[in-house]
């Protein structure tokens, strides 16, 4: 599979790999301990254009295809997760909706700044009572003259404490909801009534900050609506769909790193005068890890290429996210077995990845929601793509 990648993509992959090794990995432990990426490293990442790789060239970005960007995410995930996490928002959830549905003025205003990393973005969809059931959000946006007034609370929002820009999904018509009553907005930091609430402390993902975002009578100009009023759920779902390839690529990169480390450790660690790697049981673990990694990689590259050909790949995207995120869980388990007690020590990459990888089966749609989506898709055909979840909302539940 790797052999069929264009030269140019392989070069990008190699460059990112070198950047990771020389510039990022030396700071991985620093990020973990201090819970933040050092400023000068962020600066380096910005200079490299990492914040805007997927943003069209016309707006100052790198204009990368999906496949090329997946390779970047894969390589970036081999070091501390926070590095990838911070750039993934500006390249995905934090900019995609503007790229796909924003007005020309909005694109000019925000995209170049997102691409340069001058603005950091966050994507605020989830609420305490609306996680998997994203259509169940209650944050409201009421039109008043040339403004919408936002009220409500979002939680678990990545980057929120440091974000300059929030993509906010809110209800403009509680009667219509997903059928024309949800709208997406760009809200700037410092908007009146916008505050950061409780900052969440999580098992992993140190250095990546998540918090509640509270809106109290927050005015948002009408021109900050992304796409059409009432089409926000579709805007959001397209964005989320896009981001799922990122979770898959992250899973792949982390798993590859774990395999690399496991091989090294199995070769170096002696027991009864022989390296661990001489044990058939260990060899088989490595074999399973490698096989599953290859399988995820093949899925991801093929799916990304399909997206780049502008074909509908929603089903495959869901499959990539589901499979790769569960795959890395199994790889973590085996790596921990190979590392034994040493793999428990803070400061070891295995210990960190054990905690970091666990989020991948939860955010951007849980594994269960992905099974719902894939199952419906297989049974009902293409057009129900992301409508599967939506359907449950309006279906048996009886939400009007």
């Amino acid at each position: 599979m790797i052999g069929t990648l264009p030269e140019e993509y392989l070069r990008t992959k190699q460059q990112i790999r070198e950047f990771v090794q020389t510039d990022l990995e030396p700071y991985a432990e620093d990020v973990e301990v201090n819970n933040r990426i050092p400023e000068h490293i962020l600066e380096k990442m910005k200079q490299r254009g990492l914040f805007g790789l997927t943003i069209p060239k016309a707006y100052g970005g790198g204009g990368m295809s999906k496949l090329e960007f997946c390779l970047v995410e894969q390589e970036l995930s081999k070091t501390h997760f926070a590095f990838l996490d911070i750039i993934s928002l500006n390249n995905g959830l934090g900019s995609k909706s503007i790229v796909l549905d924003g007005s020309e003025a909005m694109k000019r205003k925000y995209l170049p700044q997102l691409a340069s990393g001058r603005l950091i973005s966050a994507f605020a969809l989830t609420e305490p009572n609306a996680g998997s059931d994203a259509a169940g959000i209650t944050t409201s946006a009421v039109r008043q003259g040339d403004h919408f007034v936002l009220n409500g609370m979002k939680h678990f929002i990545t980057n929120a404490p440091i974000a300059d820009l929030f993509i906010v999904i809110a209800v403009t018509d509680p009667e219509l909801r997903t059928r024309g009553g949800i709208t997406a907005f760009v809200v700037e930091k410092g908007a009146p009534g916008l505050t950061i609430g409780h900052v969440h402390n999580t098992m992993g993902m140190r250095g990546a900050h998540k918090s509640e975002v509270i809106f109290k009578d927050t005015p948002v100009p009408v021109e900050n609506v992304i796409g059409e009023v009432g089409k926000g759920f579709q805007v959001a779902m397209k964005t989320v769909d896009d981001g799922r390839m990122g979770v898959a690529s992250t899973s792949l990169g982390m798993a590859e790193r774990l395999l690399e480390l496991s091989i090294g450790h199995a070769q170096r660690t002696m027991r009864n005068g022989k390296p661990l790697a001489d044990s058939q049981a260990i060899q088989w673990m490595l074999a399973d890890m490698g096989t599953e990694i290859y399988s995820a990689q093949a899925m991801i590259y093929a799916t990304a290429a399909k997206i780049d050909r502008q074909e509908d790949a929603a089903l495959e995207v869901a499959m990539c996210k589901l499979y790769a995120s569960e795959m890395v869980g199994r790889v973590v388990d085996k790596a921990m077995e190979i590392f034994g007690r040493g793999g428990l020590r803070k400061g070891s990459t295995v210990e960190r990845m054990c905690r970091d990888a666990r989020i991948l089966r939860i955010f951007e749609g849980t594994a269960e929601i992905h099974r719902v989506i894939i199952g419906r898709y297989l049974l009902k055909g293409k057009r129900t793509a992301y409508a599967a979840v939506e359907k449950q909302a309006s279906g048996q539940g009886g939400r009007a």
């Binding site: 049981a281 428990l344 020590r345 666990r358 449950q392 048996q396």
Partner: protein
């Protein structure tokens, strides 16, 4: 499914449930974890209520209960909280060595103190991953004047900083494997004992871990516990008890994970329905329950069987590995059922997940343990 327990066992189980429900405060425990503090208060209370040392003879402060009662106590501790449960369940680690082979003076010196929580103990094993070979942590060299010099080291020793007494797995004389096998009892502050902090670890944050170095530590005969048969058989017996205690911890952790998952599934609403109404979630819970009950039956049977004969090491390894697998499975699914909330440090399910994985790695590599089981059932084939 109901397991048959004696009246006394039911009484103990009920008493300890009341204790953990009444005293294990979630917020306080999260604070302990954040500060990496040992649950000293809970430990004192547990001692006061005689939940520590239930297996010791009555004349030494215990209640002369069997393995089954010990399993029930540890299970309930860990069910309510994995970190605190492991801490309380291992504060008198190695006491069974003293119970089994200590002389009356040694028993008197240690057991009542351990039961009352006035003393804390820890065990220094040899390399845990070589433990199946019985390689001890240290060597006792006779000095001729009736004293011994103890030299060796042990990695990843839990509770070393807090333990008053180190129970060191040792061999007498350097010539393994025929050498006599014994345990040396050391005070932590004995000259020649050095602790090196190993820093933080994945889980069980309320107990610190250390590398312990023993260099020319002087030990007198009075502080040496010599198992009756002076051989490795004794070491095996101790290992079996140790395995059962760990299995009980895994069992409790698994039950605790199921408790939390059930409570959350019955209460969390998405798509206008309790998530416990979705078949996928219901079946996850069913799988968890099946796994848990099968494990419980096995652990209880092993504990009961312990009364009659001590069971085979490979079987007890199997019991531990089964309980371990169940705890891995249940903590993983419980976290998943909590969705994003499961990833938050503010809720306990997250540390149950880390603790299960930590306890797994601490209790040795699965690979080598399976070697022992395979050796027992397949044997040497040439």
């Amino acid at each position: 499914m109901k397991f048959t327990l004696t009246e006394e066992q039911k009484y103990i189980q009920k008493a300890i449930r009341e204790f953990t429900r009444g005293e294990f405060d979630e917020d306080q425990i999260l604070e302990l974890l954040e500060n990496r503090d040992f649950p000293q208060n809970l430990f004192r209370k547990a001692c006061k209520l005689d939940f520590v040392g239930v297996g010791y003879p009555e004349e030494f402060g215990g209640q002369a209960c069997g393995m089954m009662e010990q399993v029930l106590v540890i299970e309930e501790f860990c069910r309510k909280d994995s970190s605190v449960g492991i801490a309380l369940g291992s504060a008198d680690a190695g006491a069974e060595i003293i119970c089994a082979w200590g002389n009356d003076i040694q028993k008197q010196k240690m057991l009542p103190g351990l039961a009352k929580g006035k003393l804390v103990s820890t065990v220094l094993f040899g390399d845990v991953d070589a433990r199946e070979d019985g390689r001890p942590a240290a060597i006792l060299t006779p000095e001729g004047d009736g004293t011994f010099r103890l030299n060796g080291n042990a990695d990843f020793v839990m509770n070393a900083e807090r333990a008053d007494v180190f129970i060191v797995q040792a061999q007498i004389g350097a010539d393994a494997p025929t050498a006599d096998c014994a345990f040396a009892l050391l005070k932590r502050n004995t000259p020649g004992v050095t602790l090196q902090a190993l820093g933080e670890k994945l889980g069980i944050g309320v107990i610190a871990w250390h590398h312990v170095i023993l260099q020319d530590v002087v030990v007198t005969e009075a502080d040496i516990v010599r198992p009756a048969d002076e051989g490795r058989g004794a070491m095996l017996d101790f290992q079996k008890i140790h395995l059962l205690r760990i299995a009980a911890m895994f069992l409790g952790i698994a039950q605790g994970a199921l408790d939390m998952a059930l409570r959350y599934a019955k209460q969390r609403v998405q798509f206008n329905r309790k998530i416990g109404e979705f078949q996928g979630i219901r079946h996850k819970l069913a799988d968890m329950y099946m796994d848990l009950q099968a494990t419980r039956a096995l652990v209880y049977a092993a504990a009961e069987g312990h009364l009659h004969d001590h069971g085979d090491l490979h079987d007890l390894l199997g019991v531990k590995l089964t309980a371990e697998r169940t705890a891995m499975h249940l903590t993983d699914e419980a976290l998943q059922i909590f969705g994003g909330s499961g990833y938050m440090i503010e809720l306990p399910v997250e540390h149950f997940y880390r603790d299960a994985r930590t306890l797994r790695a601490l209790s040795g590599r699965t690979v080598f343990q399976k070697d022992v089981i395979a050796q027992a059932i397949v044997g040497h084939l040439t």
